[in-house]
Chain length 441, copies 2
Amino acid sequence: MLLHNGDWEVVRADVSVRDGRIATIEKATGRRNDRTGARRQAQVRDCSGCLIIPGLIQAHVHLCQTLFRGLADDLRLEDWLVRRIWPLEAAHTEETVYWSALLGAAELLLGGTTAILDMETVHYTGRAFEALERIGIRATAGKCLMDAHPEGAPLELAESTDVALSDAEALATRWHGAAEGRLRVCFAPRFVPSCSGPLLRAASDLAERFDAQLHTHAAETIVERETVLRTTGLEEIAYLDSVGIAGPRAALAHCVWVDGHETARLARQGTTVVHCPSSNLKLASGVAKIPELIAAGCRVAIGADGAPCNNRLDVFAEMRLAALVQKPRLGADALPAGQVLELATLGGARALGLEHDIGSIAPGKRADLVVLDLHEPHLHPAVGDPVSLVVYAAGPSDVRDVFVEGRPVVLGHELVTVPIEEIVREADRCAAELQRAAHLA
Amino acid sequence: MLLHNGDWEVVRADVSVRDGRIATIEKATGRRNDRTGARRQAQVRDCSGCLIIPGLIQAHVHLCQTLFRGLADDLRLEDWLVRRIWPLEAAHTEETVYWSALLGAAELLLGGTTAILDMETVHYTGRAFEALERIGIRATAGKCLMDAHPEGAPLELAESTDVALSDAEALATRWHGAAEGRLRVCFAPRFVPSCSGPLLRAASDLAERFDAQLHTHAAETIVERETVLRTTGLEEIAYLDSVGIAGPRAALAHCVWVDGHETARLARQGTTVVHCPSSNLKLASGVAKIPELIAAGCRVAIGADGAPCNNRLDVFAEMRLAALVQKPRLGADALPAGQVLELATLGGARALGLEHDIGSIAPGKRADLVVLDLHEPHLHPAVGDPVSLVVYAAGPSDVRDVFVEGRPVVLGHELVTVPIEEIVREADRCAAELQRAAHLA
């Protein structure tokens, strides 16, 4: 089992769970005493030969885009949005949002991601919550807020400031803290170019009122940075700060194009930067200076972004790439495995405002646990550092069991909460429908 | 099934195999006629719902290093060699070379790699061939040639020019064309700084005499580039050319640090560059300018390099990273999925000198085939381009069946040629032994 006490530590131990929380972690004695005392009524899952790690956390995903996988390859961000993503999001129906969330969440859970910070589209976010409730992932999700109308955005995605805010507030009233706290709402302005100042300020106020997180994109491309500077007269991070999108409630995806001043501001405010290395490469946005951000004291989490800009939702791929992509610039010892694993656990927990509940295996924390099966040849020899194996060598197919709040959602590599055949069949059908409706087929 | 006629094309078809070669590809009619005619005696494998792709090819691996996985993380090339890889290679025994090759080849086959260009260590390469013969992969392998003694290399790896060459010649006599042509020998000088001019020239002559390939490293780091310039007075690619390590017989791993003149020379000679994107990032070597090399007319293949600098031997990870890593520099449309898949198929075949035999699914070619199971959620929706799914979304766990020369080596995700439990157990034991012998434990 992988514990974290300042650094990662591997111990041979038994973990017990009560009422969704980790009750005890006992060094394994080798003796089985399943028949005695309190264990008599307990369900026991044998994990010998396995490594139990904290549930992995991705703090920037768009489940509403899962159905767009493979439909928007090899385009830069601005074309990717205008030519593919916005038309497809505009074509979404209640049904397609639902199955898109289920497909994405199934991939995430099967691959060891137990908690997410999710940005949905403008409409039908309630249906996404229904999907997330059914499948059993821990999720903080928000409807996409956009009241300014950026060039190329379809009319279906345009909302007035008031409608956007009242819809978001209604979602928060219905879903924030639902499923015994497993589901939470965030307030999610898309990005500065699609949002008015009053909308951003009101989103910040709502987050305060509901004790919820803020979730947006920032400084993803040089074009975005220059647009924000031109339209607001401020550097992007300073502008976000001026409208209240900053501090421990705020998670800013990307931050590829931030300078030293902005880095210092992010650190000072305790804002989380969510690193999405695959997405930043695939959309040709650049490489975020993560080691510098960490050195400056910034909070950093990690995420796969959406299926059409990745095209996986695989936290192992993101961890490995996060480590590798910094090394040519900063040296082979930049962002070593242990630090990267912290981004996907403790860093993610902070991004969700849940650092007291998830992100490590410790008594009192929620029992979000992943059991890695170590028998495959790509995880051998088993003589080195297990953290290196997890970050550099493991993959989603090594995930055997997944528990969220102590409840099994994946057992023996199979999703147990929703029939996977149904998800895949309905997702294929919905995607074909969206392609036609968006005139891409 | 994925065919290649100038571009990739997906057809619904049945493929028949006779005597290890593809006999026919017939458009599927939907009707089953298994009971009639020639099919009566044939073994039939139902691949409905799957995608059959050409066996994937990795043109630069070091199977002798598989046992070092996780033992040399976060070090730059020069430290990585001197502090870990050379001491570990020096500790190798006949037994450890054998199990290292089996562990690596098992991972490769289970992940859809059917053919490799392999560089072993200085000693016991015959034992690696025995492993490769047993497990059923297609392999061109060579003992590592090094007669100059670079700083920090252990004495156990030092050989005289004559001993190195006569050992290599004996291996070629024994193994070149063995296992009905499935195994071939290459001549594999480690890299210019560890080889005398006469050794390189003699290796080139031996390759000519045996009709075999040459396999070396070139221009991996800026340090190597400058060392070669200082010691030989020539740019590295020009120097290699001057000693006969050039042309269609030669595969040069890395080529991160080549300038425009050297690129033109590589193209003119028909030399293959083997791109190892993970290794180049992890050892902080840099990013090879693959789109520029391709545009100049160079032959390019792909490879995972060794387990301690990757730490996977996963051709899907290499393909995806090869595409992604170029985009921030050159734009989101650089190295699109179809082109990357060519590096791992047709490009690899050319690197092995086997372009008439492998690298695509066509009548008369060897039946090296990979069956991808498309049922997992990360490969859905199934409405986009299948080549995008293969390159950007698929992984080794999607490989259901693997055939080499028509012979099943993986069926239903299980290796059928060698018991996997035995490989993993012996590999773990051997790795612990090497760690102790190299004083790293």
